[in-house]
């Protein structure tokens, strides 16, 4: 775990309202694993840090992908090259990647942890099929990649007309991230899938117990320590707060 004062190095648009921000955080870039996240703070920002999956890591930089859904994300998107972000991470447990065939399923901003996952899977010699879904073609993240890519849109404006889960065909290892209702559907079909969940977070480091994830066996654990990646069947989906407006 590192606490770095990271300058913003680049910014680009990857879908309607969706942007990637890169920042120089060498120690984090060198150690982050797919599915882990960073907790970001900045002067003039809200009191609490904001957690973001690491989207990509190359060389000295890490990237995060986001949409403006509130105060913090709006401020982050206003940042310019050179502006400094306090970057805490890498945090949480990432994906356990193994096997020869990997199916990646992402809904909307659920694309966030997947470029790293796809990279690791392919460098481990696996064949990656990536199913990416969104409401409309314009909201599809342009940077999904893999040996095979399947697009899905709720309005049918591009690729499969329906959800990413419905568009997916079976595979060995399944990795998924997106709205809770999508992850619940993944859990139905692939109990052993690895899914990355979101909760409100106080600290991101395991000390506040604010990020409780309800477990199928009862009780809660911490999205920021034991999570954010879980075996799909291990989560009590009906008890995990839904309606995260920012997850399109």
């Amino acid at each position: 775990m590192f606490l770095l004062d990271a300058p913003v190095t680049a910014k680009r648009q990857v879908a309607q309202g969706m942007f990637v921000i890169a920042m120089r955080a060498p120690e984090i870039a060198a150690t982050v694993r797919a599915g882990q996240f960073v907790n970001l703070g900045w002067s003039g920002g809200p009191l609490l840090r904001r957690p973001f999956s690491v989207y990509r890591a190359d060389g000295e930089d890490i990237e995060v992908v986001l949409k403006a859904v509130g105060v913090g994300t709006a401020q982050l998107l206003e940042m310019e090259g050179g502006d400094r972000v306090s970057c805490l991470g890498p945090l949480g447990r990432g994906f356990e990647i193994a096997g020869s065939r990997v199916l990646v399923i992402s809904g909307g901003l659920g694309v966030a942890p997947m470029p790293l996952a796809a990279r690791d899977a392919r460098s481990a010699g696996a064949r990656v099929t990536w199913v990416h879904g969104a409401r409309t073609a314009a909201e599809l993240c342009s940077e999904a990649d893999g040996d095979e890519i399947v697009w899905a849109t709720d309005d049918g404006s591009r690729g499969f007309h329906g959800t990413a889960v419905a568009a997916a065909t079976d595979a060995g290892l399944v990795l998924a991230c997106g709205p809770n209702r999508m992850l619940a559907a993944v859990a139905e079909r692939w109990p052993d899938a690895q899914v990355a969940v979101e909760t409100y977070m106080g600290c991101g480091t395991g000390v506040c117990l604010g990020c409780a994830v309800p477990l199928a066996l009862g009780g809660y654990d911490r999205a920021c320590k034991e999570g954010p990646v879980y075996r799909a069947a291990a989560v009590n989906w009906s008890a995990l707060p839904a309606h995260l407006p920012y997850v399109a």
Partner: protein
């Protein structure tokens, strides 16, 4: 010139006046970033005799310069604490106090008795001020008789330092402070969180599943300074100030207002090095004003 930052709280000597507040530093094992030298001590997450699941999510909500939390004292229970954490604490170079909780005075007493003498446990902080539990919690905190009964039950079962953590949800904190002092509390911790509520305009209901939560962070600092000051004026035992401390200047407000030490909570979430920065900032402040020891800091504590 180096400043002597040590403080004595009853029989307990701390190397510095800045402690980690209960529930905001876990069991001290989670975050590697902080330089431990800056820690005067640590209060562990509130524990009950039995394991507790805690409340359903959402458990936290951000507010202007603050946050609401309703964790519901989730914890593994005292046996797990003794098995998993106390042994590690025994090897650390600063004292760990255990924040103890119960649903009756006798439960508090049993918990203290069970932990008394366990290596790694340096003392107790009695939590009679948790706003996030159905039984006990706040009730003990705003009734002087109940507060004294809980303190007495613990005092009888241990020779270790007993601190009592007060709730701000009272019309006169001095009354509670004197009540627990009279039955042998070694120190007071002021204060715990204020009960608050935040409404979600999408669901037309509370943001927190527990409905209400405890407000912490900079927003409450002026209220906490006042309550700590009132407590310090009401008793002769030391008072430890808590509430919205993020920088040395904030800690100094509590110290000048009559506290002997402080605890840092929410600030640690924002800045894992907060305790270090508060401690180091205190040292530079005292140096810049030419004080050789923390004790030389002028206090504002009119006795009337």
């Amino acid at each position: 010139m180096t400043v002597d930052m040590s403080v004595a709280i009853g029989d307990l000597r701390l190397r510095g006046p800045v402690l980690a507040a209960s529930g905001t530093f876990g069991y001290g094992t989670e975050v590697p970033l902080l330089e431990r030298r800056a820690l005067g001590g640590m209060v562990s997450k509130g524990i009950f005799i039995r394991p507790r699941e805690g409340t359903a999510p959402p458990r936290i909500a951000e507010t202007p310069a603050g946050m609401l939390n309703a964790i519901g004292l989730q914890g593994p229970g005292v046996e797990a604490l003794i098995r998993d954490y106390a042994p590690q604490w025994a090897g650390w170079d600063f004292p760990i106090l255990v924040n103890i909780n119960g649903e009756s005075a006798s439960e508090y007493g049993e918990l203290a008795a069970r932990l008394d003498g366990v290596p790694g446990v340096a003392g107790f902080e009695i939590n009679i001020s948790c706003p996030n539990v159905e039984q006990g919690g706040l009730y003990f905190g705003n009734d002087p008789r109940a507060a004294a009964a809980v303190t007495d039950a613990v005092r009888r079962r241990t020779k270790l330092p007993v601190w009592v953590k007060l709730t701000p949800m009272v019309s006169d904190i001095g009354v509670i402070a004197r009540a627990v002092e009279s039955v042998g509390a070694d120190a007071l911790c002021a204060i715990n969180t204020f009960v608050g509520m935040s409404i979600d305009l999408n669901t037309y209901g509370p943001r927190l599943s527990f409905r209400t939560g405890g407000l912490s962070g900079p927003a409450i600092r002026p209220l906490a300074v006042h309550l700590a000051h009132q407590a310090a004026r009401a008793v002769r035992i030391p008072v430890i100030g808590i509430g919205g401390i993020t920088r040395a200047e904030d800690a100094l407000e509590f110290l000048v207002a009559g506290c002997v030490a402080v605890q840092v909570g929410t600030a640690t979430f924002v800045n894992p090095k907060a305790i270090e920065e508060v401690h180091d900032g205190l040292v530079s402040f005292l140096e810049s004003r030419g004080f050789k020891t923390l004790a030389d800091l002028p206090r504002y504590l009119p006795r009337d």
